[in-house]
């Protein structure tokens, strides 16, 4: 059984959605929480795309902070497209020098994840 949660950007949601035949549909996203409305929130990635998060009771997010989200890609209620049902959140604080985490590096990691899938989330083609 694979326990991998590939790192993605909002633009990759489709490939890991319930309708895609993805190897996994639990994913990781890194971005800033830009708004919170009751049980849903919006995460904005470094490239400016957004994704709707469906929160659980344990998620305590504070706006304008950087979070890593582990969650399942789902169809939002009312046909509002794809979103992520949150399973776990981890705040990524600023580094000891007071600088925020470089989101460009995260984009490079996402790129590497999908180019070299075999070391991140799918079994090596034999």
């Amino acid at each position: 059984m694979s326990l991998s949660t590939p790192r993605i950007l909002p633009k990759h949601l489709e490939q890991f959605g319930p309708n895609a035949h993805a190897p996994v549909n639990t994913v990781r996203l890194l971005g800033t929480i830009t708004s919170i409305h009751g049980s849903s929130a919006t995460l904005t990635s470094g490239d400016g795309d957004t994704v709707t998060l469906v929160l659980n009771r344990d998620s305590h997010l504070s706006p304008q902070s950087l979070y890593e989200i582990v969650g399942k890609v789902i169809n939002l209620e009312g046909g509002a497209g794809l979103g992520v049902r949150v399973m776990a959140t981890t705040e990524w604080p600023k580094n000891p020098e007071g600088k925020p985490v470089d989101l460009k590096v995260y984009e490079a990691v996402v790129d590497a994840t999908h180019r070299s899938k075999e070391i991140f989330y799918v079994d090596e083609e034999k």
Partner: protein, 277 residues
Amino acid sequence: MDYGYGNNYSTGYGAQGAADGGGFVGGEVQSSPAGGKGGYGKDTVRPVTIKQILHANHPHPDAEFKIDGDIVTQLTFVGQIRNISTQATNITYKVDDGTDIIEVKQWIDSESNQDQMDTDSGKPKLIEDGYCRVWGRLRAFHDKRHVQAHIIRPISDYNEINYHLLEATAMHLFFKFGPPPSAGGNDQKMAQNGQANGNTSVNVGGKELPQNLSPRAKMVYKYLRESPQSNEGQHVQLIASNMGLEVNDVYRAAEELVESGLTFTTVDEHTWAVLDY
């Protein structure tokens, strides 16, 4: 703090100890003057993902682990601690890096623990759901793998997580496709060939190299081809010092090249020349 315990746990140690006892030693270790006993030359730290650790090739219990065809003993990775359980002799952490989950065990050393209590009180601690960096050695117990940690410390700059994943990818690509293209003509050709065909067939000096050669063997072959020499070829020490490689690595590369019929031994077992036909 290093108490030198790490050395006793060397997997290389066990394997080679057995070979010595059997009285049958394949030239490599014994005849290498700079190689040392335990094969420390290959004891380098490799950055990996947990998925790579769990998929590492381990054909039988005494064998060494291999990732992308290269032996790994020491490794390092970054992940999130999912669970901490303190036992009588060790602390076991379940670490998840988004590619898989593995157990990391750290032995409790009562003396050094006391030191840490005194000095570490103000520093960030290892907590559940916190990120950590692990340095350790891959172990297999029955069919289960875990990492015996030398050092495990919390992450304070979160850029380190992304940095590590990129570093692990870079090393994976190095072992899969060989060194990145450089300005030199042959290297360029090597990389392009590798990428275009999705394999590592290399054209050096007009000859097609077999795909299954390790990157190191290719480098040694290229070096032997391009350096001026008599028909006696070059001695292992000379190759090692000119290429900046460990003697043991040169032996392994040379063995591959001889097996593939690309080079042959000349004046003694430690000197090779390129086989031209």
